[in-house]
């Protein structure tokens, strides 16, 4: 196994775990109100999107030059 493949494998597993956890946290906080709750939900959503990007990069779907 090459270093790049190992990195992609760990990134893939990690991205799935983190994305699912972020979505669960987002779901739990969905009904919370207040400025801090709204910003937290926005930032958690964007972070979950970042996990999807990392997942796609690990699968060589994006970032292939």
């Amino acid at each position: 196994m090459t270093a790049a493949l190992l990195e992609r494998t760990i990134a893939l597993i990690g991205a799935i775990v983190v994305a699912v956890t972020a979505c669960v946290q987002l779901k739990d906080d969905w009904k919370a109100s207040g400025l801090d709750a709204v910003i937290t939900k926005l930032l958690l959503g964007l972070m979950a999107f970042g996990c999807v990007l990392a997942l796609l990069a690990a699968l060589n779907v994006v970032g292939v030059h």
Binding site: A4, V18, D36, I39, L43, L53, A54, A57, V62, H65
Partner: protein
């Protein structure tokens, strides 16, 4: 009739004084304005990078007759997951504080700090590799953009690690309670913000 445990929990929550209650929203608004100003700072550098990149005849640019290499996407994906993971652990830390579970709060906070430091170590390793590949700060627009933006972000992560460490010490000394924990909320927002900025940088430097 409420149980003794329930009464104890309520007593720990009902400790908000009037001044704190009045100023919390103002302090939160001030902190949000700080995050917006930071967002504008990053945006200006990002737009400069986008302009430089789109106006260049080739990308990566040529330096001394050789085209510079692309950045390592697989390593960056791994390092990104480390940082995003720290966002999740910080969220759990705050939630455990809200639920008066102090031991779990400290465990998640320490996990966040460790992941933040791991990300910084990963960035240092990345910088070393990039420099060895011939991409330097003064040598090309690619290097200047990369080191400026990732350096600025890394500085924010470093400040965040220091910030979270101070918050942990303050929490240990009893500065925050079950109802008064604005510092922890602000720390969590800052850490999420740093995560989200990295989403943009990860896309711009490694995926675009």
């Amino acid at each position: 009739m409420k149980s003794i445990e329930m009464q104890a929990v309520e007593a720990r929550y009902n400790d908000v004084d009037a001044v704190y209650h009045e100023t919390r929203d103002l302090r939160l608004l001030g902190f949000v304005f700080f995050l917006i100003s930071d967002c504008i700072l990053f945006s200006s550098f990002i737009f400069a990078y986008v302009y430089l990149r789109t106006s260049a005849p080739t990308w990566p640019p040529f330096v001394d007759g050789h085209q510079l290499p692309w950045f390592d996407t697989s390593y960056a994906a791994l390092n990104s997951v480390v940082l995003f993971g720290s966002g999740v652990t910080m969220h759990y830390a705050l939630e455990n504080w809200k639920h008066l579970n102090r031991q779990a709060f400290y465990a998640w906070l320490v996990a966040t700090i460790i992941l933040g430091l791991a990300f910084l170590g990963g960035q240092a390793h990345e910088w070393t590799g990039v420099l060895q590949a011939g991409v330097t700060w003064p040598g090309s627009t690619m290097g200047a953009s990369f080191f400026t933006l990732t350096g600025l972000h890394g500085f924010h992560v470093f400040i965040g690690v220091c910030y979270l460490t101070i918050l942990g010490i303050q929490a240990h000394k009893g500065v925050y309670t079950g109802s008064k924990y604005f510092g922890l909320t602000a720390g969590t927002l800052y850490w999420h913000f740093v995560d989200v900025i990295w989403v943009a940088l990860f896309f711009l430097f490694y995926l675009w």
